[in-house]
Symmetry: C2
């Protein structure tokens, strides 16, 4: 029902192949929770018209958080993952999990006040973190820039701090939720999409066959530590040399510009320089785009996506970055793989993370298994 | 039911959530086609015992073909994709589609005679070809080593030659079917697997979330034309330079050994040399393994599989090849991606192709949509 089309009970029976009694029980349960409402579009066709039901996006709220290395975005969304209210604040991930997650829960309380809704409207929490996460447990696994977070029970802490044990808390890495957000919002019909985040780190979220591919250990999409073919011998924080991230990330570009005498301390300064027309900065960003393009050419040969989205902070200097990426990918890959390939900049921009975190949560809460489990819990004494 | 467990009607209703009447209709239809049989394992528990049904692998035959550049394997399998009889023959793909496919149909007739079954037992045909194929139509798309095959209607020709319009014919590239075969036979529980074929060409079949990922245009897995990071300037038949295939395929190794004065004309000679203990050939194959490993390290970072299978003709020189691959992949990739990664040689070996072609066909024929369509056709006047 989440596509927004109103449907009758008979249509649902036909669509799902489920028994009349099963559909009846589920519709009644969803009506009682407010997730379905009778549609206003019911039109009399003579006689008693069959009642159509429609998914009620407003029936619940999702707390969605996109927590980066130095900034966090927290939002309340409806069940269609539309942002109702959001807050962006400087938050250092290095403050550790308890401090950051307690701040998240405090912010949630504030935002609930702003929209004038009770905490009981919250159906779940979706969180993106800037490092590898074991999605099934919500625990970060050896995240390089997140001291104190390794193995931390993020869902458990948030649930306790919220005082809401029945509210599911899902966690994933920031790039996966950005891919989910961009896919759900801009490319819902696309089956094969690669979302590439270029910022302090470089990573990708992979949509294959319409769903997020997390890999065997939740580590899929780790573009940043693929060796860039250009053969630079730059040391990477991971311990290897020549990783893409050590050559083409925001800090890597900033370091090269500093060597040329420019006054830049980080990615934001690089973007400002590009926007002010600096040839040196534009050339460095374009060259970073080419380096990223070399690795993306391999990804395109391997995955054959129809859309590659470039997002993350550095995508705000999108023209030279995209030009460099396109130059190499279209030059390197075979015609069959690039014939109908679009390489574009993220349209959800800064909201990709929270929209994706909310999408992840809604997809989970509305999955048949979850709905069945809640029906079973509700009907037991 | 294809997992082989006997089940009662009641168990099927509970498992599927389908209506009692739907399950009843489907079970009756499957019984009438012979795909289900009453199980011999029914045990009386007092009173009239409920009847259990079991999937009948022997109820039909699949014609499965793995057509390579110079050799073809044709087999008849049961509905569990088990090979009943097979034939391997030298067949030049360059003879063109009509000649090759007519030979396939003639061979099918021969094999049916051998097993003493009528053509009406054939439920479908699965074919693997050594080039890119648009899976939805079964037509090759610009296959580089298959003159005359571009856009050819393979299913149409086979259906006409068989004189069996109702028999589905599915076509895919050889590496995808090998991946399906290895996955179904050896690693049915593995969700993320990469099958790499190293022979005249180099390519991969990707299993993501338990299913084959063909990509947007059916071109996924094209490892052979990813640029090898070693930076060799060897020209590739695709028009680019430095492609993995131009450096690490069987013919590339043979060419280097010829330059060193060895009498080798192709991949088979390279394997013979390795087996006879030639240090030069062993060193060249190990170096090819390292080159392949550089590209696979990127694939492992991107896809995070738990199993990488090395197959294809050159995998018969498996020790130096695997050693080279492992050396680089375990050295280059992050611990999270390689912590539980197995890199192994193909166990299905030469049968991977036909087993996979049969698996592809059986998965299609047994999919709910197909079963429903046949039920509808059978019940219409």
């Amino acid at each position: 029902m989440r596509d927004g089309h109103p449907r009758t009970r008979a249509e649902l029976i036909q669509l799902t192949g489920l028994a009349r009694s099963t559909v009846g029980t589920r519709v009644d349960a969803l009506l009682s929770t407010g997730l379905l409402s009778p549609s206003r579009e019911s039109v009399s066709t003579g006689g008693r018209p069959p009642v159509r039901f429609v998914f009620n996006r407003g029936a619940g709220l999702v707390l969605a958080a996109d927590i980066g290395a130095t900034h966090a975005t927290v939002a309340l969304t409806d069940l269609g993952a539309r942002v109702l209210v959001e807050q962006i604040e400087p938050v250092e991930i290095t403050r550790g999990p308890s401090a950051v997650l307690d701040w998240l829960v405090d912010t949630c309380a504030q935002l609930l006040l702003e929209v004038g809704r009770p905490r009981s409207d919250l159906v779940g929490v979706g969180i993106g973190l800037p490092g590898p996460v074991e999605h099934s447990t919500g625990r970060p696994t050896n995240p390089p820039i997140m001291p104190g977070w390794d193995g931390f029970d993020v869902p458990g802490h948030v649930t306790r701090a919220l005082g809401a044990p029945a509210v599911p808390v899902l966690v994933d890495n920031d790039v996966n939720i950005m891919a989910l957000g961009e896919h759900a919002t801009v490319y819902p019909e696309v089956q094969h999409l690669l979302f590439v985040k270029v910022a302090t780190g470089i990573g990708a979220g992979i949509i294959s066959g319409g769903t997020l591919n997390r890999g065997a250990a939740g580590a899929a999409g780790d573009l940043g530590h693929i060796q860039a073919p250009s053969g630079h011998d730059v040391a990477c924080r991971c311990g290897n040399v020549g990783c893409l991230e050590a050559i083409a990330s925001g800090p890597a570009i900033a370091a090269r510009l500093r060597q040329q005498g420019h006054d830049v301390s980080g990615t934001a300064d690089v973007i400002d320089l590009v926007r002010s027309g600096s040839l040196a900065a534009t050339a460095e960003v374009r060259q970073a785009g080419r380096e990223i393009g070399e690795v993306l050419a391999a990804c395109v040969s391997l995955l054959n996506p129809s859309v590659v989205v470039i997002g993350g902070q550095l995508a705000r200097a999108s023209e030279p970055l995209l030009a460099g990426v396109r130059e190499v990918v279209y030059g390197r890959s075979l015609p069959l793989a690039t014939g109908s390939l679009q390489i574009v900049v993220s349209q959800t921009g800064r909201q990709a993370g929270v929209v994706g975190a909310a999408t992840m949560l809604v997809q989970h809460v509305m999955s048949p298994d979850e709905v069945d489990a809640r029906l079973a819990a509700a009907s037991s004494p």
